[in-house]
Symmetry: C2
Subunit: 176 residues, 2 copies
């Protein structure tokens, strides 16, 4: 039975640790010999130095990024362009379904859902098509209700205290 049934796991909430936990999850699964792919949304590893992409690569875990520009940071991008990019991301994941991965991380995809770049039917379609043995990990604040209902394991990261509140800058090795 082991490894036969994959779970849908969600990390959401405003607190720090969602992507961090997804990275830990990918690394842990990899250490058990599971085949893992890490797909991120709304992040540009070429523009910002996200250490996790480097270390995942170093371990042999493949990564890909979609909808790299985030409208909050890049005003020159239209919602429609981002929508197209997000849908490309889902198509890419669909392609991975045929490649016998044991775990796929969809980092920050909850943002795509929250902002309406992806609809419920896009995501539910994907979840329904996934191989039953595949673990899917979805992260990002604002996970919609339909996703929480559908998931097997949901953790909400609540921010109890954050040094940002005191005006401190983000720290290399901690936040990115």
């Amino acid at each position: 039975m082991e490894g036969k049934w994959g779970i849908i796991q969600v990390y959401t909430g405003d607190g720090k640790g969602k992507t961090t936990a997804a990275v830990g999850q990918a690394v842990r699964a990899h250490s058990h010999g599971l085949k893992v792919f890490f797909v991120s949304f709304h992040k540009d590893p070429e523009r910002y130095d996200y250490g996790e992409f480097r270390v995942l690569g170093q371990l042999g875990i493949k990564t890909a990024s979609f909808a790299k520009t985030y409208p909050l940071f890049d005003k020159g991008v239209s919602k429609e362009e981002i929508r197209v990019e997000c849908k490309k991301g889902l198509e890419f994941v669909r392609g991975l379904f045929k490649k016998r991965y044991d775990m796929i991380v969809l980092d920050e995809v909850n943002i795509s859902l929250r902002e309406g770049y992806l609809g419920e039917e896009d995501m539910m379609g994907l979840l329904n098509e996934r191989p039953t043995s595949l673990h899917l990990i979805l992260t990002g604040r604002g996970a919609p209700h339909f996703l929480i209902d559908r998931a097997d394991l949901v953790t909400r990261m609540e921010s109890v205290k954050h040094h940002y509140d005191k005006g401190a800058p983000s720290i290399r090795g901690i936040e990115y």
Copy 2:
């Protein structure tokens, strides 16, 4: 300034993802060239196959374990023995303070505090002695108030939904 001021970070709460996030944190910091040590409490990597220890080692991140027997699982161990082991763990960490680490993870040490194996004065003594540049990450449910007060960054992992509730077994690559 960067890297000059370390933070005290706490992952607590009943939800999944505390150790997982600490592993992700260690890996991310390592990817930026930070020198990281991962110390765990109440876990026995020789007895259980915690994949994270293997992969941390593979990346060159050093690990150590203290108070490996957990009273809930091993009735033959006295509280006093565990207390001695936990204090040894803190002494070990104190020794690391002299070795120019950038980040030390104290995984599940909140359990040691919650169960009274370590007291407030033990932990506060350690926190006060730490080099100001050192990031300390403490995990485990039931983080005491004094620790939350003292920390710079605290995330509570809230369990919204867990497949355990449906009687499913723990899954290799997900939980351990």
